[in-house]
């Protein structure tokens, strides 16, 4: 229980360092990867909101979070890639965004209920 109480400092620090690194280094992304990155970011966002909610529910598990994050990103990118190969990339992207968007909204609502009891 103690570990979880001190927990958020490290993830938030990690996030801050990541953002700083992204701003400072500004790496050039290979052109072939560019269509998949926005989807990957939305998938990562879904994992983050899921993680926050699980933490507020008291059942957060770092292993589950890491696995869900990685698989979310990879599967989202894979679906878009497959869609591009089949010529339905735009539609599949929309499908992925809709599903992830619904989950993000649901988790955000749960987080809101936890924080504001409303």
């Amino acid at each position: 229980m103690k570990g979880i109480r001190t927990g958020p400092v490290i993830p938030i620090l990690g996030l801050a360092v990541g953002i700083a690194a992204g701003v400072l280094v500004d790496p050039s992304v290979p052109l072939s990867l560019q269509p998949y990155l926005p989807i990957a970011v939305v998938a990562a966002l879904d994992a983050v909101f899921g993680g926050i909610r699980a933490r507020l529910d008291g059942i957060f598990d770092a292993k589950v979070f890491v696995v869900s994050f990685i698989s979310n990103v990879v599967i989202a990118a894979l679906i878009v890639f497959l869609g591009d190969q089949l010529g339905v990339g735009a539609q599949l992207s929309t499908a992925v965004i809709v599903v992830l968007g619904i989950r993000i909204f649901g988790n955000a609502a749960a987080i809101r209920r936890h924080l504001f009891r409303a």
């Binding site: 990690g14 990541g18 953002i19 992204g22 790496p27 869900s68 989950r103």
Partner: protein, 286 residues
């Protein structure tokens, strides 16, 4: 939980209700079953991996945001660069054209010097002079007319502009000029030769494959009667009726003195020059 019943009812319902990754609950359930608490212990490795993951997420997000932000101005930059390239190439072409004119002048001067020495040569020179004037290859000066054709302002409802100047409008005016005895004609400063084309390419009008732009200035040097004959011509009358009904601009003004530049020499691909003997021979017959 409502999720157990909705699992059987519909996929959409599940999607809407089960927003949390089921993995968390399952993991918690396993821990409780093993006799522990719902919350896991968090070792340092787990925290480190978690921090790394979030680092990755932060970096990924910022990279994508900066990528999307920078790609829009990049496209604009590319467009500007292309426009600058076109302008640069065009001015380079103009420079080369100018250099060509200079070299040609030099060649003409040397030729005249050499030919003027003999009477045979003088005859050839006169012949050449007439041919070049006919082909529009010499700069000329004289009194003439200036016809200005202007596109009608675009209609406010965004429809087709019926008052736009077309290639055939310019063609008809030029033809009337030739018919009225014009000796030299130029469009937007570009001299017309015997093989010059006036054509549309999309929205642009090309004279000898070089674009001319609105307003179109057609200058012609010719006899004094040209003005009256042009005003009487069917082409100008038609254009005048277009001007009153569609709003295009038509302006015919006599000019005391016009300076027209020499035209470009058409590249000779099929014809072969006859020997100097034949040319001078013809000169001898006169």
């Amino acid at each position: 939980m409502s999720s157990t019943e909705s699992r059987s009812t519909s996929m959409l319902r599940r999607l809407l209700d089960e927003t949390l990754d089921p993995g968390y609950e399952e993991a918690a359930g396993r821990r409780v079953a093993a006799g522990g608490t719902a919350a896991p212990e968090s070792g340092w490795t787990r925290r480190l991996v978690l921090a790394l993951c979030l680092l990755l997420i932060g970096a990924l997000s910022t990279v994508v945001i900066s990528q999307v932000r920078s790609s829009a101005p990049q496209r604009e930059e590319l467009r500007e660069a292309l426009i600058a390239d076109v302008a640069a190439q065009r001015s380079a072409g103009d420079l080369l054209q100018q250099r060509l004119v200079e070299i040609r002048d030099e060649a003409t001067r040397v030729r005249e010097q050499l030919l003027a020495a003999t009477s045979q040569g003088q005859g050839a020179l006169d012949e050449l002079d007439r041919a070049e004037k006919g082909a529009g290859l010499t700069a000329v000066r004289g009194p003439g007319l200036v016809v200005t054709l202007t596109d009608a302002p675009p209609p406010e409802n965004g429809g087709d502009n019926l008052g736009r100047i077309l290639d055939r409008d310019i063609q008809s005016v030029v033809n009337e000029f030739w018919a009225a005895g014009a000796e030299a004609v130029a469009i937007d400063g570009q001299r017309l030769g015997p093989t010059t084309s006036i054509r549309s390419a999309g929205q642009a009008i090309l004279v000898d494959f070089r674009p001319v732009t609105n307003p179109y200035l057609i200058e012609a040097i010719g006899p004094a009667g040209m003005f009256d004959q042009l005003l009487e011509s069917s082409a100008v009358r038609t254009l005048a009726s277009y001007a009153s009904s569609f709003g295009l601009g038509l302006d015919v003004v006599p000019a005391d003195q016009l300076d027209l530049l020499p035209g470009t020499r058409a590249a000779v691909t099929e014809a072969e020059p006859v020997g100097l003997r034949r040319v001078s021979g013809r000169g001898d017959h006169r």
